[in-house]
Symmetry: C2
Amino acid sequence: MNERQIIEYIAAQADPTDGQLLKGIGDDCAVIRKDGNRVWLLTMDTLIESVHFNRDFHPPEKLGRKAVSVNVSDIGAMGGKPVFVLLSAGMPHGFDEAWFRAFVSGLTEACREYGCFIIGGDTVASPGGLTFTLTVIGEAEADQVVYRSGARPDDAIWVSGPLGLAAAGLELLNAGIEPDNQAFDLLREKHLNPQARVSLGQQLAASGRVHAMMDLSDGLATDLAHLCKQSGVGARLFARDLPGVAMLADAARLTGCDPERWALSGGEDFELLFTANPDESFHLGGIAEACGLSIFPVGVIVVGVGVTLIRSAADGTNHEIAIAYQGFDHFRNGNGG
Amino acid sequence: MNERQIIEYIAAQADPTDGQLLKGIGDDCAVIRKDGNRVWLLTMDTLIESVHFNRDFHPPEKLGRKAVSVNVSDIGAMGGKPVFVLLSAGMPHGFDEAWFRAFVSGLTEACREYGCFIIGGDTVASPGGLTFTLTVIGEAEADQVVYRSGARPDDAIWVSGPLGLAAAGLELLNAGIEPDNQAFDLLREKHLNPQARVSLGQQLAASGRVHAMMDLSDGLATDLAHLCKQSGVGARLFARDLPGVAMLADAARLTGCDPERWALSGGEDFELLFTANPDESFHLGGIAEACGLSIFPVGVIVVGVGVTLIRSAADGTNHEIAIAYQGFDHFRNGNGG
């Protein structure tokens, strides 16, 4: 079973039948009723040692921050505001207390920055290594929540930042390549301490102009395929428009990797992926600019299924490649996101 | 740091300041506002392979059921009804798919029985072994929620069933002792497939007669100490009243263990621990009987701090022993609950 099959198997058993549930399995968050027009958004993400992080090069403060960011990213991607956090911390006997205090310090600092705080959880012994699971609860207006399922044919597709940087940074860290190079610092920081686009997500949702949105955690090829499946549409991406590929060139050369592959299949970008009428470009760009960010058009939603990458050859011809679900999969890939 | 110090350290950093939060760290569940007089209860528990379960003798269906029971037990212990479940499943590469399907089947079956269902979660690779974290969301009337903090001097203390059975069952399983003995089946089943007292908890809470309540997960000595600390009181337990000790005698003899220690310090009983005016005995017993259960008085709340065990010697004299926090601690004990 791959990751998608596992989730589909669980979803098929789950059998949801409650009027207080607005959205169950299949989006960034589950959505349950709060009061009047307000809802609670619920998301859960786990970080496991030697899978999601390597203690040799991941400072504990940054890991604590990341544990929060990867979760609040899901809240922001539906237009919500993070409010509460539950933390389950699994640690080996005789764990390093200074390390743990620094981890908690980074975690609570990030909570404050995103406007949420810890209200409960669990602590357990974990002889197989450190494991941290967070549940984050966010709040939103019910009629402003943006789901994965709203994309429409002829929508433009945007991302909120360059792609593949976190994957490149992880590769540099794994390879032990640490030259004095500011561009590489940026790549490494995207893996070690990603920033979630929570304010941007809230403002895009509040604008009422975005049809579908999610965060990029498993790579564009997989995440866009999820969005298309939920929306009952297909997508065409243009290789020349993938933002950030030029920033990856040096790291790719040094590590022998393919920058386009990082951009399409590298996990953990935690940028927003969203669709809207192409006419909204100026307005949505203005919203991003007010958040200190840029948005980049990468393709178009079409009638159909799947995700196709369009690559223009030197002779002017276009090549089309099916890339749906070519991103990170815990049970197919060996390591990473 | 022991388990309590870890939680206190996190709580000190957490800095809760939100008007929508009725209760944060320090009770069975966090309590957040829903609408009018309704609240959502949130709890999170993790089961880790070789700490909480041994795949050699824990059938996957029963483990799936237990993952739900240990969580909904916290909801019931505050008087709530479980509604929604988030599941984070960490599994090694090449995990046993038949095992996993059986686990999910037990989990969803237990969800149906307790009246809740899965609405989201996460799946990750976990090379160190299986790890499952559930967050359960329950619902309650705000003015019916029973906290740990309401115990009053002269309250009687009850538990909803015999104590130490799960610890004895685990010891028998670990020792490989499997004689054809129905009493032992009962002990083993208490470890493998405990039942959460959710209906009883809801009805005790709805009666308005219970001052403080929690579930027994780390053993009476530790859990009662938590309840006393939250309530600003002390407690006296009577050794002769501990229910279930006689049921443990054979298992204790075979394994060389102390039955009273199992009853006081064995984890994972998942019975309810609650306090009320001693005059309520008849009424509360009737509520339990309607649920097919019995309640057992084990002691009394007193002015002061700590938990004292009163043991009557053969000569009629009483011996008092301080036992607060002598229950299971993940970071002090080697293995178990």
